[in-house]
Amino acid sequence: MKLILSDTPLNISSEISNGIKYIDLSELKIANCVGCFGCWTKTPGKCVIRDDAVKVYPLIAESDAVIYVSRIKYGGYDTVMKTMLERAIPIQMAFIRLLDGETHHVQRAVALKKAVIIAYGDTGEEEREVFRRLAERNAKNMSFKSWRIVFVNENETESAVMEAVKEWRK
């Protein structure tokens, strides 16, 4: 499965076909992770907060290709995307493993992914550099086998997403 996860509504219905799921996070109700570790130590693989995030993280786990669309703030994902990514930790275990010589969480049944991150907003080079380093860290903790960041202005977001979807079809 392929997943488009966006923090803003996108008019891309013409690009959506079988096997592609599009989620507009901005219309979902997703609370902050409360750091209770319930999804690791009480109900493993399942978040104790039963809001819309529970519809999303199973799809993240299942997808072998993802497009994450997010405004950038302080060199990271802005609130809507960041909140969702924090709520996706049920797809990992509490347990730690060595990956490329570093400690990281063991993943549950999570597909390795090709990730494209459409990072939009008015970003300078310094901010982009922080975001590149973040994506490199994400790759290890979010099962990216490859990743690419496309920095765009806000008004170019939709066309950047459509371009990335077209590449899926190649």
Binding site: N32, C33, V34, G35, C36, F37, G38, W40, T41, K42, T43, P44, G45, K46, V54, K55, Y57, P58, A61, K73, Y74, G75, G76, Y77, D78, T79, K82, T83, L85, E86, A88, I89, P90, I91, M93, A94, F95, I96, R97, L98, G101, E102, T103, H104, V106, R108, A109, V110, E126, E127, V130, R133, L134, R137, N138, N141, M142
Partner: protein, 202 residues
């Protein structure tokens, strides 16, 4: 003389490790300190309180490789409601991973906030093994660095510090397994259940 406002940006602030790190800082700091938890509803109130302090110390855990959404939300509010005189911003950030360097990106994000909004950036303490270190014989490693941090923030001779458990990584992983198995046992989950590969299907 420094006056330091300590803001805990952990999502589980009152019961967090960040709270314990902040307590050690307060105990070892000779200057005036005031401590607050950042909650969803007190951002404006805290932005107002910052006026008059020479320093802010943010204490928080690493979440999804960056600053927690709690801190992100607060920084966005602080950007909109800045104090008249901008204090120097220092951080204590902890992660459950062995390597304190895994906190670097979160530190960079706070630095970027400071650059974009004209706040001087001060000192950093990056803690690895931060979920458990205070309950181990290696507690003193964290305490010693926090003491140094308290001194440096107080006298303005800023620095970057890091600490973790002095263990080979494979032993760290074994110790971490035991920690989480015990955590699960208290919550009624067995190791086998915690190691399930299944993720709920909605």
């Amino acid at each position: 003389m420094a006056e330091i406002i300590i803001l805990n940006a952990s999502p589980r602030a009152p019961k967090s490790n960040s709270r314990l790190y902040a307590d050690i800082f307060i105990k070892n700091c000779k200057e005036k300190t005031e401590y607050y938890n950042i909650s969803k509803t007190n951002h404006k109130e805290l932005c107002g309180k910052i006026n008059g302090f020479t320093d802010i110390l943010f204490v928080f855990p690493l979440y999804a490789d960056g600053i927690p959404a709690t801190l992100l939300g607060f920084l966005k509010n602080l950007e909109k409601n800045p104090p008249l005189k901008k204090p120097t911003v220092s951080v204590i950030v902890n992660c459950g991973f062995f390597e304190p360097e895994q906190n670097d990106t979160a530190v960079d994000m706070v630095k970027l906030f400071c650059i974009q909004n004209g706040f001087p950036f001060g000192s950093v303490l990056k803690i690895g093994g931060g979920e458990a270190i205070l309950g181990t014989p290696f507690r003193s490693f964290a305490e010693r660095k926090i003491r140094t941090l308290a001194r440096r923030v107080s006298d303005g001779r800023h620095c970057v510090l890091k600490t973790t458990m002095p263990l080979p990584k494979r032993i760290f992983i074994k110790a971490s397994d035991s920690y989480w198995i015990e955590y699960g046992r208290k919550n009624g989950a067995t190791e086998e259940e915690m190691r399930t590969m299944s993720i709920e299907k909605f």
